[in-house]
Amino acid sequence: MGNLNDTQLKKIQSSKSLKTRFESMQLFKVDRKNIHQVLKNSEEKSVKDLDLTSKAILLRSQTGDFEGAFELASWSAKAKPSTRKTVVRSFLKNRQAPLLVHQIARMKRSEAGDMMADYFSEGGDIKDVAEWLSAAGKILKTGVVPDETDGLWGWVKDAVGTVVDAVVGAINTVADAIAAAGKNLADAVAKVATWAQDKISDFVEAILAAGKSVAQVLSEAVKKGTAAVNKFIQAVIEAGKRGLEVLNWAIGQAESILRTALSKLEQLLGSFTSLLMEVAKMAASRLNAIVKALISAGKRSIDFISRLNRFALDFAKRLVQELKKLGRSLGEITQAVINQSRLIARVVIDALKELGNSIFNILRVIANKTVQQLAVIIGAIKDLAISLSSILNDIAKFTAAQAKKLMQALRIIWTRMKEILEIIAQKSISVIRTLISALIGTVNHWRVVLKEIATNVREAFREGLIKGLIEIGKSVVTLMIEATKLGGTIAALIFAILLDIFGSHRGLNTSERAEAEKVFGVSIDLDRVKLTDASLAADLIMWMNKNRPFTTMYVINYKSGSTLPMDTLIHELTHVWQAVTSGGVYMIEALHSQFFGKGYNLSEADLKKADGSLLSLEREQQAVVVEEFWKAEFDGQRTKIPVDLLRPFAKQVHKSRFVIHPFRLQDFQLKTKLVFANN
């Protein structure tokens, strides 16, 4: 008990004004040890006297002595209900409501609850509770008791080692007391909506520590309008809550509120990317509403698409699909991909494809972009494992100019022209036409494509491609001219293809070769001889006639559908021999033997006149000589001119294989046959 005697107590009680009561209490050093004596004395005297004592104690708290106020509150908590109410009224009348709340926070739960009930029943405002919570929240946030509290929170430092634990306990005491008094702490939110941001943030820190959820806080804030929502969102984020919690609340609100929340979150999180990262954590079913609100808030497709590389594939695709479902055009979405990374392009195209958009339609809306921009898109399409063949089909649907540009882009991704050409070769002729034209548009000269066809493209695909070149207007002559510029081998190959295009061609079979060797030996490279039934254009023949040497001199043409008799073959091979020996001037005759097929008459007189030289005969006569010789010498036929006359001429077309025979010195019979000049 206290140490004041009756005289001192009477002296205090005799002071009737606040000033004198305060001074007398000072005089007798009323403190924690004896304050209960004074209060008990006053309580016994009258309500009025208790009120006066309470006021005097509270006046002392204004000088920084808060322990007196705490003792007043603690004492009243254990006193009769009427006494408690009197004290509470004193606190309220002296505008010391926050101080009372502060004292409640230090009480035990049951006393705190009773006191809080009196607080509200005596007219206490929850706003003052919020004031205290804000101060408590500030300590929570910083972990230190601010100096400007004038010792109000000193007990926190004294009571425990860790300030935060004590303040959290105090906040929960108040929160439980409010609940015990039948009030809702969340109601305070609406009361403080006009406060400055910092103060609201401190308040929110406290009520979150008291177990209120983000949704509870924001649902109260929204009643006070957009500005309040903004402040409280900032407060919950500053209190360390995740943006996701705000989003999960906002999704259930009107779209305007959702929009507000999203804008505020973007600002608080620092970037739209960070906001989307929070959105990515939400349930998939909520994405539509979020994207809708973001668009409504002014976000463009590009704002989403440019950030897709920051997210998991699944979310990124869903984001694109939501944009599309919300009415963003294919054009807008696809245009947004331009200048983005290949990864982003892949995600967008994949997402659009899943929604049923074709690659052609996607390409169509960006066909006017630069080659480099298109290359990114084509690369992304490739990354989606869409085949080159399929892409080429789509390119073939474009106009020539667009197809050319797309082909240029394609070639940045598929750098091996051979690959492209071989796929093109497998298309229908109309598609080949478009694609070959487009492909030629990607090189300096179409000869490059021709060379690629001849040197790298596999044999099976060459003919189709050469046909394609012819289809787009490259004449056979032009083809051969360009092929010749690329060298003999390529020219031969292209010519062979042309022969096949216009008919068919083959080499000598075994029996033909055997017979030919008998007559010509190795004077003709029989491996190069081709038999064809092709019908070649006159300009080609003209060109070949003028361009020697040319490998087509080995080609023997015969009418389509007919077989080539052996004697005719020998005849024609003689023309080949003529061409090889004398040059391409004979080509036209070789290819179009029908011009000369009626043959020239050959008589023994002609042979005599030739004086043993085959070349002295007309060229067709030469062929007849060799043909007749073969008939008589190797085929057992009777000929008009005796074979012995023919043989010396015919042998002139034969060239033996060079053979070295081993010999001995005596074979030369030096002694008998050799004549030395000086002997």
Binding site: A112, V160, T162, D165, A166, V168, G169, N172, G211
Partner: protein, 293 residues
Amino acid sequence: MKRAIILPQCWYKEASVFIARLNILRPRYFLIPLSESGAEAKSNLPFLEEMMAANRATSAMFVIPKSFASGDKIDSWPDLIQHHSAGKWVCSVFFADRWAEVAEALEDFLNEVNTKIETHLTCQYQPVYAEMLKLWEQKGGKAYHPGDFFKEDILPAISQMKGDWVYWGHGEGDRLRGYGQLHVVDLLSNKCETPLNATLWFTCSTLDRDYPENIALAWYQSGATKCLLASPDKVNTEANQLLSQHWLGMAKENGGRTVASLILDILQHDSENLESVLNHYYLLGIPWVSGNI
């Protein structure tokens, strides 16, 4: 359900006599002697697992030297949840330098008159912990709400507790942060007059490795409790809530559970999540104390 006592081989003979007497009424206990480590010593683990599996044992009390009762030795302790070919088993750690110490503890434990275990519930004053307190209170526990019990109230209350003591809230190597922070010295000065059946601290770091004599070891070594569940690690609050809910669910079911069997039953519910949570914890002392509340 057979119960193993894992002990040094040199104690085997005297321990066998004790265990034989223990098993007269009900053959439940068996010994797994482990050879003392030395240069030639092989790993004991295959033998241990073989013995646990062969006896279809689901719990064991692993006796290790008292010198291992130190925060910096925790990583040498066996994990709470162990596995053998026949399934999982629960392992507690018992510190003793002589068999007589083990025998004495078992004697006390076995001679205890079976009375209803009272469960004393404490927590830090935060909603998430207060909710757990309320939940357990509704199931028959006695709550010491931090709004009702200040530091000066809870310490004497602890000294009077009999049965189980449960705590939720923050913890550190030298303190429980509820009730204005209960330090080692506070607890040791208010040690329970009768050893508790079990102390369950669903909190972080009370076995903090950085404190050789951390608060959990100090409490257990003081003889205040026969069994202590505590963690050297930070444990996620939600994970602790989940564990507490399952623990309560099992503890309220009939069946005369021990703490060890209760842990095994918990694992059957949600093995994947709860095993990882439980393995943050260690069980000190006798694992066969009552697990029911």
